[in-house]
């Protein structure tokens, strides 16, 4: 990672391998290159502190498993308040070990220290002798005494000032009289000292992950009336949509639970192809699913949870009437159509067809569920050559008569009768994909013949291709006929209907 300073690129962060090679932070990129051994490539990219901060925040949310109070700290630290939670993990030492090994498994280099104050833990974690350390309560001064003064979380200028008067370690600072600390240096030093030894309080700003939006309604008693359940669900859905509107989110997945006495709640899950919080659309989807639910002994309550959401910006009302935002309205209508179709017919019945980069006709397209959003740019079909409207799932055997081996076909035997060929276009050769092709084991006679002919022709074994002809039979039927180059067999692979 580099950061530009004037016209130079300075190393801002480096990986373990770079550190071993002697590259230090703050070094010129050209200098760093010169340190590397011959033939070792240097990968560098711009350092983006904002992305570091976002990742650290993500790690902080992950660390909520250790304690409910976790705060990201500075560029590279986490402050975790483990007061009371060490019992859950059967002791502070086990907790430290578990946290260190799990963070290490995530791919981070990690140093952990536990102490009675944040300040002490901060200093010991960064400047202590061991990767994992624990400071017993009341021993903060001893733990910090031998560490450099930087362990007190003071800024660069104060540190420099301390160095000028010969104060190098925390011990020196602790020996100074408090009054002179406040008088000779700015307040941050004294505050740092007091916080480290626990004489000044410190509050952290913990991360608060937002729980998924959830709305519920409980009945006074179980009800078997479909109408009441319907009305309740509709009302709760409206509340949920309002909640999402406040958060500027749209639903991607809605989980509905109908609570029933003496029975497991019925899970209903509704997936949406694109985020939406339109109550009317959501209701039409939910209603179709609710209708199929067996109410059993009655329903005690309805719980709706927005398990997956995506950002959905606010829109100006009434723009439709003005004719603006037509594209977005069409987009929304498309999403609603897909959701409704998939809700009744099943998600795998509503598909888009996507071209694949393959010349083989049977592999050139594939189905994708329409529920998946199409973020990626549309793939392009490899060829624009003519393809039949119907491609047979299995090519059908046929035999063809031609004057010359590669010449036009005169007649075709297919589906138990002979077809006179009126016109013939081709051949178009489509090669086998060599990366999928395996040399035949020689089980069939035709395969063996194919191998012989290949060896005779080129000397090197190449996967056999197919020659395709577009053939019009008497009566105006257009067929797609192919011949395996290796075996010489004929097939009808498709038809224009």
């Amino acid at each position: 990672m580099t950061r530009p300073v004037a016209s130079r690129e300075l190393v801002a962060r480096r990986c373990e391998a770079a550190r071993a090679a002697g590259i230090a932070e703050g070094m010129d990129l050209a200098h760093a290159r010169s340190l590397l051994a011959e033939g070792v490539a240097l990968h560098s990219e711009l350092h983006r502190p904002d992305r570091d901060a976002a990742a650290l925040r993500g790690l902080a949310c992950w660390a909520l498993r250790y304690s409910p109070l976790v705060a990201p700290d500075g560029p590279d630290g986490l402050l975790i308040d483990i007061t009371g939670t060490e019992r859950v993990h059967r002791g502070e030492v086990r907790l430290i070990r578990a946290a260190a090994s799990e963070i290490h498994r995530l791919g981070f280099a990690v140093r952990v220290a536990a102490a009675s104050t944040f300040g002490c833990a901060w200093g010991v974690a960064r400047f202590g002798a061991h990767d994992l350390s624990r400071v017993p309560p009341g021993r903060e001064r001893e733990a910090l005494r031998g560490l450099p003064a930087a362990a007190l979380r003071i800024d660069e200028r104060t540190l420099q000032g301390l160095g000028e008067v010969g104060i190098i370690t925390v011990g020196h600072v602790l020996d100074l009289p408090r009054a002179s600390l406040a008088a000779r240096f700015d307040g941050s030093l004294l505050l740092g000292v007091l916080r480290a030894i626990g004489e000044a309080p410190e509050a952290i700003d913990p991360v608060r992950p937002s729980p998924p939006a959830r709305c519920e309604m409980m009945f006074d008693g179980p009800t078997g009336h479909w109408e009441s359940v319907e009305a309740a669900a509709r009302r709760v859905l409206g509340e949920l949509a309002g909640e999402l509107a406040q958060r500027e989110r749209g639903l991607r997945r809605l989980d509905v639970e109908l609570l029933r006495p003496r029975a497991a709640p019925t899970p209903i899950r509704i997936d949406l192809s694109r985020p939406s919080r339109a109550a009317k659309h959501l209701w039409s989807l939910l209603r179709a699913r609710l209708e199929r639910v067996d109410l059993g002994d009655g329903v005690e309550g309805v719980v709706l949870t927005a398990s997956r959401t995506a950002r959905l910006r606010h829109e100006q009302r009434g723009s439709e009437a003005l004719g603006a935002d037509d594209a977005r309205a069409t987009e929304a209508a498309w999403g609603e159509l897909v959701d409704t179709l998939a809700g009744r017919l099943g998600a795998d019945q509503v598909v888009r067809i996507e071209p694949v980069e393959s010349h083989l006709p049977e592999r050139a397209f594939r189905e994708r569920s329409a529920m998946e959003a199409m973020q990626r740019g549309p793939a392009r079909a490899v060829t624009r050559a003519a393809r039949p409207t119907v491609l047979f799932r299995r090519p059908e055997r046929a035999d063809a008569m031609a004057v010359t081996p590669d010449g036009p076909i005169l007649s075709l035997g297919w589906r138990g009768r002979r077809w006179k060929v009126v016109s013939c276009i081709g051949p178009e050769r489509i090669g086998q994909e060599w990366w999928r092709w395996e040399p035949p084991a020689g089980d069939g006679e035709g395969e063996a013949a194919g191998r012989r002919s290949r060896v005779r022709r080129g000397g090197t074994a190449a996967p056999p291709g197919r020659d395709y002809f577009i053939v019009q039979t008497e009566g105006g039927r257009w067929l797609w006929v192919c011949r395996h180059v290796g075996t010489g067999r004929w097939f009808v692979h498709g038809e224009w209907s």
């Binding site: 159509l337 397209f365 050559a385 019009q472 797609w480 224009w496």
Partner: protein
């Protein structure tokens, strides 16, 4: 375009080169009731410009419903119906009979016959030959009707237009 098809259409080869596939949605509807519902829903949605559906087995009521849906959604609906349903009643605006025609050149040809058109008298000419250029894929009407060969019928399908 939305294409409710009951599994028979093999999409892999379907003239993917000519059609912009990104804008197409393919829907497999097993039962005839689902098929009608899906067609109707797609027609009413403003996302679908045109709907092509398998119209086999749709009765007068069903086509009436689709006609209304097409009017509501301002879209176009093409129903492909097998030739034996030619005499079924329907509320479609126009009905066409398309049959394959042989051609001596390398272009594909069809005979297109206008069977019925709402609010119009039968015109003098109600039959055209349409030709698809092999190279460009463009369709054109062949002016010379006289060299039309008399072959028609095998697997011909009536296509009706609603809306």
């Amino acid at each position: 375009m939305v294409w409710p098809y009951p599994g028979s259409l093999n999409s892999a080869g379907s003239d993917g080169a000519r059609l912009s596939l990104e804008g197409c949605l393919f829907v497999r509807a097993g039962r005839p009731g689902d098929r009608l519902w899906a067609t109707d829903l797609a027609l009413r949605s403003r996302a679908a410009a045109a709907v092509i559906a398998d119209g086999s087995g749709f009765d007068l009521g069903a086509t009436r419903r689709l006609q209304l849906a097409a009017e509501a959604g301002d879209g176009m609906c093409l129903l492909a119906r097998p030739p034996w349903e030619r005499c079924e009643l329907s509320a479609a605006a126009t009905r066409w009979l398309v049959s394959r025609a042989a051609c001596s050149s390398t272009d594909r040809r069809w005979t297109v016959e206008l069977l019925r058109c709402k609010g119009m008298r039968p015109a003098a000419q109600s039959e055209w030959v349409v030709e698809q250029d092999h190279a460009t894929g463009a369709l054109r009407v062949v002016a010379d009707v006289l060299d039309r060969p008399g072959e028609a019928g095998v697997g011909s399908s009536g296509i009706r237009r609603t809306g």
